[in-house]
């Protein structure tokens, strides 16, 4: 009796074993962890990953809550024309201040640090993409009529600050590293003017940074994930 069960049980055990090995491998792969040198280092890395996970969970909760709010609002304003008009205004306002996902034609600019050997250059710093480069490009894009801009999925809003943070750039108080993918919605032909002779791209190319510009008919820019709060500015009565 029990002899018949031996292969079945062993097979089941092997099944459970390979199943969990596959899950573990996938988990390790997605987290892209490497084995650290010391216990301390591993601990710190684990803490960071835990925090990240918590953050992502909260973010998902927030998204769910926002969806629910949207639904409730729609239900509440369905049969009332004045409320519907207000709802429309809110949506329009949110679009203007960057609180909604927007889509449209535009350009995608990719900025990578130069691949030139640093030993051959007098000023190594010129090989890197700096906050000033990003700021200048954003200025040019705005001059060319860009309506919505994001850098590595950080939406530019009215309160956005872009500053140098060492080997990264602080945008909207979150840390963004190279390569920078700048998405801008506007008329692609106008936005393309940034690569004109004498434009900012030419200056970057002089430093050995080769920017890539791709025109597209459909770009989606995510909404700003934070909240915009004015502390000092008040409405004029």
């Amino acid at each position: 009796m029990s002899k018949k069960f031996i292969p079945i049980v062993l097979g089941l055990m092997c099944f459970a074993l390979t199943y969990s090995i596959c899950i573990q491998m996938k988990t390790v792969k997605t987290l892209n962890t490497t084995v650290g040198q010391s216990y301390e280092e591993n601990n710190l890395r684990a803490q960071v990953l835990k925090m990240k996970e918590k953050y992502e969970n909260r973010q998902a909760d927030l998204e769910k809550a926002t969806e629910l709010l949207e639904k409730e609002r729609q239900n509440a304003t369905q049969n009332n024309s004045s409320l519907e008009e207000m709802e429309r205004q809110i949506k329009e306002g949110n679009k203007l201040i960057g609180m909604t996902d927007v889509t449209g034609p535009g350009v995608i600019i990719t900025l990578k640090d130069s691949t030139i050997n640093p030993a051959t250059v007098l000023d190594v710093s010129s090989l890197l993409v700096h906050d000033t480069d990003v700021l200048s490009i954003i200025g040019e894009l705005k001059n060319a009529g860009a309506e919505a801009i994001s850098i590595n999925d950080e939406r530019l809003v009215t309160t956005t600050a872009i500053s140098c943070g060492g080997n990264i750039i602080d945008i909207n108080k979150s840390k963004v590293g190279a390569p920078f993918v700048i998405k801008a919605i506007g008329l692609p032909e106008y936005l393309d003017a940034i690569s004109r002779p004498g434009g900012y791209f030419e200056r970057l190319e002089d430093d050995g940074i080769i920017p890539e510009l791709k025109k597209s008919n459909k770009i989606t820019i995510n909404k700003y994930s934070g909240a915009i709060n004015f502390k000092y500015a008040k409405n004029v009565e």
Partner: protein, 135 residues
Amino acid sequence: MIFIAIIIGCILGAILGINAPTISYMYSSYLAIAIIAALDSVFGGIASVINKNFDLKIFISGFFGNAILAILLTLLGQKLNVDIYLAAIVVFVWRMFMNLGIIRRYYVEKWSGKLENLANRKHKENNLDNKAQKN
């Protein structure tokens, strides 16, 4: 029979595991040590089948008991700031090698015995042929 079951189990597990969702990072270190414990149990099971002293109850309780004990030890180690899981890994891997040695010895002896039998038979046939030719 046993090996067919093991192979089918492994293939099914791999197919389902690839499509399974990933787990939270918090639990991945516990799962890792549980995997090592389970692997040890499976090798132990195969070795005991070969020794013909396989007991289903002992095997199943060992499979789960070892995994749970290893997880608890890891947990305790994290609370005490000592890498106890290293000790568990050393013991499990050591036992794995022992069991692998038993399995290997059994099959090497079995196959080398078969080869010797074959060689003996050929030798005898040759002798018979030689005798026939002489006669």
